[in-house]
Symmetry: C2
Subunit: 330 residues, 2 copies
Amino acid sequence: MKMLINVAETVVADALRGMAAAHPELAVDVENRVVVRGDAPVAGKVALVSGGGSGHEPLHGGFVGPGMLSAACPGEVFTSPVPDQMVRAAAAVDSGHGVLFVVKNYTGDVLNFDMAAELAEDEGVRVEKVLVNDDVAVEDSTFTAGRRGTGATLFVEKIAGAAAEEGRPLDQVAALARRVNENARSFGVALAPCSTPAKGGPTFELPDGELELGVGIHGEPGRERRAMMTSGEIADFAVDAVLSDLRPDSPVLVLVNGMGATPLLELYGFNAEVQRVLAERGVAVARTLVGNYVTSLDMAGASVTVCQVDEEMLRLWDAPVRTPGLRWGV
Amino acid sequence: MKMLINVAETVVADALRGMAAAHPELAVDVENRVVVRGDAPVAGKVALVSGGGSGHEPLHGGFVGPGMLSAACPGEVFTSPVPDQMVRAAAAVDSGHGVLFVVKNYTGDVLNFDMAAELAEDEGVRVEKVLVNDDVAVEDSTFTAGRRGTGATLFVEKIAGAAAEEGRPLDQVAALARRVNENARSFGVALAPCSTPAKGGPTFELPDGELELGVGIHGEPGRERRAMMTSGEIADFAVDAVLSDLRPDSPVLVLVNGMGATPLLELYGFNAEVQRVLAERGVAVARTLVGNYVTSLDMAGASVTVCQVDEEMLRLWDAPVRTPGLRWGV
């Protein structure tokens, strides 16, 4: 498997150096692996810190900036960051108003963010945590007890980030973040596996002519394998899986997310089918985002995330954001 | 080759329907295949129209909006749009101050935009054209007499688009667009081929363990094939190819562009190496953009575009832009 890298061991550090060069508005600590918005700590503001294994870019480092995350901690590829990174990030961004940890539900991330929260609190930083577990595909999975955290992470980070930017206190920002997660559901499909630099090849096998329905963002098994389906059939399956778990009675945000190697041309076509199914099921769509946001290296496929919003959440979604991966209004 | 599509015949129409759903600020004419900014024609403003084969998204439709293109005409995958689309687009966006056609140098595009310019002028629309031909890899190529147009298209559309937004007259906008093209050079590499929906498989063969140096954005042959190289070695080769043709004596804009299937993690790592080589060669970098902007469906690989800018061009690059694919300052 050919990759655009030097050696597997330096992939994350190399990417952070490249990110620092492209984004002078961020403070990138390559050695300690922490990406911080350049103007942190921001006086009077609750800080948001997230992180997780690398390989899902632009998540999380690409969502650092005004209106979204205060800092991100990238781990090795598909491997949790360590508590030291999170404690360092919290110390760098805390203005005295506390820090919200946004944690995707994978065992390693949960343990390490828990430990980091204790260590940070020992140093006098108030910490709240929100666990993101939106993936309806399976109840338990490789690396996860309970549901996996996937696309809803973007909605949590954006909406809670906007609330923090408005100066809301930690308990309110944390409660809002949990509310976003509770109102969001995701379902993903893989058409072809991803390859990690360390392995140098695919992390799982997917026969010609089959797809994985309900795949995780590290290639974890989903619900079932079937013979290849059309875009419309996949949209029916994915949206129905989401709606069987969350029946929205108000407008939704929709994320049609590419896993990494699926062309934007195909993602837009898939979005047309997702919108068709939502309309057929009577679900009103407030906003739609199409693109590669929560990726799985070079996996081919896509995921659908639906997030039911009230007027306040929609206003916070629309609020200005200035990050490498998501930017509008500023 | 599995694809997230319904059938090959409807790929472009499906994508346009999905784009219309995601971007209500655009007017997407699915039947006639024209993407227009929703507020066009804008009084007193020169309009910019571009287009080309589909499969390079977000180019061009994703660059329609305030500060960049007024309209885009998507052809079939890797196939020029037809003159009727371009004439229709010009009529939709012309405010009476004329239209600039931004044309990538491929034989079909050049012929069809030439014909469209004549037809539009017959209908009373003033038209200027700029030909983008920045790819230093080869002099003539499949589909092209002379150099191919690739990554510089983004710089031309952004900088000339900003000038038009400021209310400059057609001759000035056209002259500026030509100046951007003259000051920009690109070089691309492929690690794996792309697959078109019509063919249902790869458009060219690339053996295991080899890469194509100087590949075109439709998979056209480049300068040579070699055994796989590191990210650093590729950056040396690509940047030196660019700098052997353009020796900048002022700061440059850099685009490190993904071909489609190369993870953002790898693109950022590649950017670190590109920046190293530019620094070693004494080239000052003003701005850097890293991501998938001028893609080739699911090709794996990347391209480097360098554009020498003066203070005016840099100011226009930094000016606000609000499109699906490029957005800042608004």
